[in-house]
């Protein structure tokens, strides 16, 4: 299994490097000249060439690519923003805790609330608990997330004056953004969990366990849940991948200077260093989250773990020696 994990980590790193090359190449073939854009229409040819030199846009593509990859991955130098004139690494490092904090808290509470509720709904299938959860889930999925956030602001900031409406500064500023994410997100987790638990409940081994007199609680936790969690892990993995880029709407609504708004401003301003750096980070986060999801599968399902082990070559060697 260790061998498999190492192999996957190396593959993930390769994927990230390839993504970086593709992103760099795409940014370089975009129409429009950033130097001219920055200098304006009145700039002369010489001024534009000098600006290109200063921005690192002159020279062969391969040389610039090599320099960029070296700076990015080895020196952790993401370049300087053309508009802010600050280090992109520094800007991202300052903003990323806010974005990740909100996203991770959303994810944690969504799963912590959604999974037990989904299990309960499946266990009480057909009863008022199940119907209530289904109804709430339908409302939760129909109502737009930003509307929920606005209503929370009106209630808790405007009417009750309990919490600040926007900005950063203290832990109180993060309560509403997280609440907004949870209220919209837990319904999806609950529905997904309910559905997969219902499927597992019909399995023969569950009936066998019950017939053997295993307590219901143990049936749920030791037999049902591990098998029902696979779709939930997939869903969580997808949300984990969007941990940086998925919070843009929240950041705009609550005026939080996070990575999402940073990226959006970079795109609007054609600030290539920002766009390149954040896009590569997004690709890296997605690749890592897929790795974690695959590893989680192996942890939860021994059959998948055996598959991984056999893929890494250890299983074949054992068979040979037998």
């Amino acid at each position: 299994m260790i061998r498999y994990i190492i192999k996957r980590i190396l593959m993930t790193m390769l994927v990230i490097v390839i993504a970086a090359i593709v992103i760099f190449a795409l940014m370089n073939i975009l129409p429009g000249d950033p130097a001219s854009s920055l200098l304006g229409d009145g700039a002369t040819y010489e001024e534009i060439q000098a600006k290109k030199e200063a921005m690192g846009l002159s020279g062969p593509f391969i040389v610039r690519l090599g320099r960029y990859l070296y700076n990015f991955f080895i020196r952790l130098d993401f370049g300087r923003s053309w508009f802010y004139n600050t280090s992109v690494y520094g800007d991202v490092a300052e903003r990323i805790p806010r974005t990740i904090g909100i996203s991770l808290a959303n994810l944690f509470f969504t799963v912590a609330l959604g999974v037990p509720v989904g299990v309960m709904a499946a266990m009480k299938r057909g009863k008022w608990q199940d119907k209530g959860v289904l109804a709430l889930a339908m409302i939760g999925m129909a109502v737009p997330g930003f509307w929920v956030q606005m209503e929370l602001i009106i209630l808790f900031s405007l009417k009750l004056h309990w919490l600040p409406a926007s900005g950063i500064g203290s832990w109180k500023h993060y309560i509403l953004p997280i609440m907004g994410g949870i209220l919209g997100g837990w319904t999806g987790a609950a529905r997904q969990t309910r559905q997969s638990v219902l499927e597992v409940m019909r399995a023969d081994y569950i009936a066998t366990a019950r017939a053997k007199g295993v307590p219901n609680r143990k049936v749920i936790i030791h037999h049902m849940l591990p098998n029902a969690l696979m779709p939930v892990i997939t869903m969580v993995g997808g949300q984990l991948g969007g941990i940086i880029g998925g919070s843009l709407a929240t950041e705009r609504t609550f005026s939080i200077p996070g990575v999402g708004t940073y990226m959006l401003n970079g795109v609007s301003n054609r600030d290539y260093p920002i766009v390149e750096a954040v896009t590569i980070l997004l690709a890296a986060v997605h690749a890592i989250s897929m790795l974690l999801v695959d590893l989680a599968y192996g942890f939860v399902d021994p059959r998948i773990k055996a598959q991984y082990v056999s893929q890494s070559g250890k299983g074949r060697r054992k068979k040979k020696n037998a």
Binding site: G32, D41, Y84, N85, K131, A142, M150, L158, S255
Partner: protein, 574 residues
Amino acid sequence: MKNILSRRDFLKASALGSVGAAAAIMLASCSGETAPAQSSTSTSNTPASTNNNTAANNTQSQGMTAAEFAAQENNEKDEEADYSNLVIGMSSLTKTFSPTGFQGDYCGAVYQSLSGTEGGDMYPCMAKSLEFTEDLMHVNCELRDNIYDTNGNHITASDVAFSYQLAMDASLNSVTRYFSGWDVTGEYTITFHLKNLPKADGIAFGVAVFSQKSYEASEDQFSTIGVGTGPYKIRQFVPDYIVVLEKNTDYWAGEEEIAHVDERFPGMWAQNWDVMEFRQIGESMQVVIALEGGDILFSDNVNTEDLVLFEEGGQDADDFTVYKFASGITYCLVYNCDELSPLHDVRLRKAVSYAIDQSALIEMLFRGRALGTSEMCGSWLPDYPKEWDTEESFYRFNQEKARELLADAGYSEGLELVFLTNSDPVNANAAVAIQSMLREVGITVSLLSLDMKVANERKEADHSFWHITTNQVGAEDHVWKAFTRAYAYNERKWEGTAGYFIDEKLPELLDKISAYGGATEENVEEFHQYVKELCLGYGMFNRYNSCVAKKGLVPAMSPTGKNYFYNAFYWEKV
């Protein structure tokens, strides 16, 4: 008995109940808002009479200064009020405090310049004097000898030269356009050499002046904490979030210097507030909440739909005042006059202009909150002749006339045109509205939306893929400047105007009105009559920028109404 309802019936009932509950919640949350008084709509075709903002509970002010506001409203400054913290909500903040890249009126409280910030007005501010030499190709500047920045560094002519050199290296238009160089002639004297003879408004000396020593000591070239000589200094700056300025307690300017500047730019160097906080609030709804909750005192980022809450009859009208100022940006149409375009024929250009109902356009796009115009410049400009808005010869909405011209040009069966627009919401919505107006007279318009940079590159290469496009003309403070931006031949990468029009007379007339001393009423009128006959485009409107202020808070603006002087805002005495 197991179930009263069948499973199918229950699911149906649940679905209906859920939808009903959601609708009830949404309706409940929207309750409590009173409908505002309806503004009257002008149906006149004269742009000057498109003055239908009776919903505003304060006088419309088109470029009025703080002094004029005060005189009109009988406002007196309340010296005893709380001036500890002014909090402003803004749609966006400056990305940097670098002297060559900052944007935002509040930056004028940190950095100062040799002259005022309005166009080419050579009224000395940091400078003690600014004088042309006889040949008008050099300007002798004497700097005040008592200027210090917030680090305590003394500002000399060398610092001025350093500041201008930095701006030149950054290819700032305000320097590269005017100056070929400069020479430091004394500790406080410097002579600037001009590239060309000055234009009608003189030379702009608006570059931020700062200490070379402070700049070189800064780790990021003033990007995050700029050090200036102004009445305020930066306490905190988080890009895309907040700018906090605090009063410069060691401000170099005394009563005499401030009084001198106040004669031309009242309030520009004021220090009314201890702290000024500028918060970026991108969403209009959030701005409304922040205003209602008391988190901010002023904002110019309230959109048209939400303004009704603060105007007369709105739920917040008692606690807030709405001020309106015409934006300096004039939205215009530009016609493709190239030989390959059908609009090469002036009759067709006039037909298009006659088909546009400007009043209806303003009502559709802004609910009347915009000022129409009869030229490629704002009708609010101080030197805009009001007669232009009532001239018979202008292309006021007349569908019959439009059809006549189309038939005369041989297009009685109809004409097909391409309207090039972009993602700017005003341009995009105007294009859709004009498309329907032109359809009424038999002109079929297809819309093509392109990114502006991409569009400009394509326009350079291909003169035939578009026929009408939108343009935005920013005019600072004079009509002749707007004409320069709208009609000059050397402003673009192709020869001719924005619509490829070329002739000999147009640039001659333009040179005449833009020469130093040439912007007389007669010359400007001559130019106006000439371009009106050519009908190279169509001036549409200047939208109103509305700002909402806490009741009693009076905003201060520059003489042309282009810039806010936040440091000069004050509480009126009740």
